[in-house]
């Protein structure tokens, strides 16, 4: 892949992990910080952020180019995520380490990738007790549930429960992927928390 040719596998992995400590020059770090800020909170960008790019040697044309490239990427990513587009198989050519740090959102197209070694040739088997799938990875000899139970923080639980009054349980399932029975369990435990708080 192109990026691998420019940076080399090791540096690319370091950049994805933490671009501030990846051996990039200060100008590159400043540009990436700006790109990150546009993406996360463009409304908070101030003149001083742009001035910092100037101090790092960027012309106004270059600042505009960076901004356009970042906004374009945002347009593309938002569209792809909203339409459920999966990453292309070409990413699977990447070193496991890079793929591990790059794969932050949706899974790549193959779907089931070993979470231990990121090998792509895992074997599926059905668990009989509750029908959930388990896998076995011939590459690293590890195995486990294909979709492990997701853990929610208390804050997330409360946030989802807030919707309980407005939507029916099936609606919540499609919105958050939380099953009605899990929801009821939370609701009960939440009440318990409240009661113990009062006494």
């Amino acid at each position: 892949m192109l990026r691998k040719q420019i940076f080399g596998a090791e540096q690319l992995e370091a950049i994805v992990r933490d671009f501030r400590n990846a051996g990039l020059d200060p100008q590159e770090v400043a540009v990436m910080e700006f790109a990150e800020k546009i993406t996360l909170h463009a409304h908070a960008i101030q003149k001083k952020d742009v001035d910092k790019l100037r101090e790092n040697g960027l012309t106004d044309e270059e600042i505009l180019d960076v901004t356009l490239a970042v906004s374009a990427r945002n347009f593309w990513s938002k569209t792809m995520d909203a339409m459920g587009t999966e990453g292309d198989l070409k990413y699977l050519d990447l070193e496991p380490g890079i793929r591990k740090v790059m794969q932050k959102g949706r899974p790549f197209a193959e779907g089931e990738i070993c979470p231990h070694c990121f090998g792509t040739h895992i074997v599926k088997k059905i668990r009989t007790s509750d029908g959930r799938e388990e896998y076995y990875c011939p590459a690293c000899h590890m195995g486990g549930l294909i979709k492990p139970r997701k853990k929610y923080s208390d804050a997330q639980k409360l946030q989802i429960l807030e919707h309980f009054e407005r939507y029916n349980p099936d609606g919540i399932k499609s919105l958050f992927g939380v099953s009605p029975s899990t929801l009821m369990r939370w609701k009960k435990s939440k009440i318990k928390v409240k009661k113990s708080g009062k006494s």
Binding site: A69, M80, E86
Partner: protein, 78 residues
């Protein structure tokens, strides 16, 4: 593949067929993202052209770095 209907390679006609053929020729496969936009091939063509114009004055290394920073902040795998 995607949440909306996408037009498969063999069903493509007109503008979309041109886009698909070009991708097959240049990269050997049709990217999932291209297929996502298959219902609006004009938008895809305009997008490609916009991106190409933006990139034209940028060094590849910088373009890749900012794209990486944006995608990473977006938690976007694609």
């Amino acid at each position: 593949m995607a949440f909306i209907h996408t037009i498969q390679t063999e069903e493509a006609v007109g503008k979309l067929k041109e886009i698909y053929d070009h991708e097959l020729e240049t990269q050997g496969y049709i990217a999932n993202g291209t297929m996502t936009l298959s219902l609006r091939p004009e938008v895809f063509a305009a997008w490609e052209s916009l991106l190409k114009t933006i990139r034209s004055k940028m060094r590849l290394r910088r373009y890749e770095l900012v794209t990486l920073a944006a995608a990473s902040a977006l938690h976007c795998t694609y």
